[in-house]
């Protein structure tokens, strides 16, 4: 395969990972149409939690920041979570006038593909939709670091794409995907007494990811993430930089979809549960002139891992 084709395919792959939610979006809306309110929140919450965990990892790495040397690095990383058994089911409530009202353990969006049926009065039955049986949820993000002024570094994430629904008749045009993040990191070890064996820095990062537009001008999905914390690292030998971090992360997500509950079509707007968690990072960076590779594991309310590559100086 020609190199240019490999690069094009890689870019497509990265775009695919970044908008990994979008091939799911159209399918998820079909599933959600049978749910309203609390059921829709319970169905989607594991995916929202995974989104937040992915967005809030892979941001900070080495705590060492040049003081009076310009630095510029373009990075690409993959962030992912694994789903546990707790993420696969939720307590759903029967709707649409079903009698008697029942609470049932039903699949979430990442749970079993099989629908769950319960029996009611007079020979009636109620069906809860299946999920997509996901084992993991990954995002990829391009990231730009610009720094070197008095130990301060700016970090940017940006991605924009217009997503069509595909070639099939009736496929939905999901609209624009907009992803933007901005943060600052500052070397605090410069203020410490000499002799501290590690580099220390502190920083924050804010991100917003929005997908599509509904009939009322809002987004089909909007996600906001924020992280603030401290990092420590130490260079071992020529290339190895183990690093660690402790941060406080928040994430919120709002979803808009069309529901046919009770036979009446209407737009449902749900705000998923906001998450706030402490977040501990352990990672290792391989730092060569002009390029670095890293891998890290993150321990939080939803644990995640991240790896990637950066090019620059």
């Amino acid at each position: 395969m020609p190199f240019a084709a490999i690069v094009r395919r890689s870019c497509v792959l990265l775009a695919l990972l970044v908008c990994v939610a979008t091939p799911l979006s159209a399918q998820i809306e079909s599933q959600l149409s049978a749910y309203t309110g609390a059921n829709a929140t319970g169905y989607l919450q594991p995916l929202a939690n995974a989104f937040g965990a992915d967005l809030n990892c892979g941001i900070f790495r080495s705590a060492s920041i040049p003081h009076l040397r310009p630095s510029l690095r373009l990075e690409v990383q993959v962030m992912s979570v694994f789903f546990g058994d707790d993420d696969k089911t939720f307590m759903a409530v029967t709707e649409h006038g079903f009698s008697p009202e029942q609470r049932v353990s039903a699949p979430t969006v990442v749970g079993s593909e099989k629908a769950v049926l319960v029996d009611g009065d007079g020979g009636t039955s109620y069906a809860f939709p299946g999920g997509f049986d996901l084992h993991s949820f990954a995002l990829a993000a391009p990231q730009l670091r610009v720094g070197g002024l008095y130990g301060t570094e700016a970090i940017f994430r940006f991605f924009a794409l217009k997503v069509g629904g595909g070639d099939k008749e009736g496929d939905k045009d999901l609209g624009d995907i907009n992803f933007f993040g901005f943060g600052l990191k500052h070397d605090i070890s410069q203020y410490m007494p000499p002799g501290i064996p590690v580099n220390l820095s502190a920083g924050f990062f804010w991100q917003r990811l929005s997908i599509g537009e509904n009939e009322k001008g809002g987004h089909l999905m909007e996600s906001n993430a924020f992280s603030i914390g401290v990092q420590a690292s130490k260079k071992l030998g020529f290339f190895f930089v183990p690093y660690s971090g402790l941060s406080y992360d928040t994430h919120s997500m709002a979803v808009s979809y069309d529901s046919e509950s009770g036979g009446v079509k209407k737009t449902e707007n749900i705000d998923l549960d906001k998450t706030a968690t402490l977040h501990f990072t352990l990672g290792l960076m391989l730092n060569t002139p002009g390029m670095n590779i890293f891998g890290e594991y993150n321990i939080a309310s939803q644990s995640s891992f991240s790896f990637g590559v950066g090019l620059g100086f």
């Binding site: 490999i6 792959l13 009065d121 007079g122 009636t124 049986d133 990954a138 036979g263 002139p289």
Partner: protein
């Protein structure tokens, strides 16, 4: 090997790895979706008598085929279809006084011998009180059985036609030729259709 050459080689290796991994990101799934369908059968009541019977026909295959088409599904994709609930409401009524009606709604098949069986009973139901209000019905298992067998026949390739009948037995105060009972009402049936679909989802790890 210069640093630039080494970096280019690493970029190429990374790109190849990413390119090679693209086919591993998407996984096949057969997911069971639930389509919620509400079917209403309108009845026009205009009678001078306490007892009256009014039929309404529902061509089930036409209704369900339309629902499946709207959801990009076909009859062979159906896993199961079942009755969830029924409600009724008066949609049009204008009179100088109210009526309380008592009776039943039955259901039977026109295409095969099944029914008639009682689907629901109503007792001293105020016509004015049901205007624009969805009233949940207590369903009778025999009548629901007729409907569920019709759904099963549709899944098997049949073309069931349902006849709903209002069989009214009591009106208070009694109507007359000069004071006819006139209103429109509709029972609405909610059905869950479980449909399986083969899709690709991103599940890279």
């Amino acid at each position: 090997m210069t640093a630039i050459t080494k970096n280019a080689a690493l970029i190429l290796l990374t790109a190849v790895l990413l390119a090679g991994a693209s086919s591993c990101i998407m996984e096949d799934r057969t997911v069971e979706f639930v389509v919620t369908e509400e079917t209403c059968a309108p009845f026009d009541i205009d009678s001078p008598f306490t007892s009256f019977t009014e039929p309404a026909f529902v061509f089930l295959a036409d209704d369900l085929n339309g629902v499946l088409s709207d959801n990009d599904a076909a009859r062979e994709d159906i896993v199961t279809a079942r009755i969830v609930s029924l409600s009724y409401r008066v949609t049009q009524f204008s009179h100088d006084h109210d009526w309380d009606i008592t009776g039943a709604v039955t259901v039977e098949r026109q295409d095969v011998a099944d029914g008639p069986d009682t689907l629901l009973n109503y007792t001293d139901q105020s016509v004015q009180g049901a205007l624009g209000v969805k009233i949940p019905a207590n369903l009778n298992e025999d009548g629901v059985g007729v409907l569920n067998r019709a759904l099963d026949d549709f899944i098997a390739g049949g073309n069931p036609v349902l006849i709903f009948k209002v069989v009214n037995g009591g009106v208070n105060p009694p109507p007359s030729v000069s004071d006819r009972i006139v209103f429109q009402w509709e029972p609405c049936l909610v059905t869950h259709i479980v449909v399986k679909k083969d899709i690709e989802v991103p599940d890279p790890f």
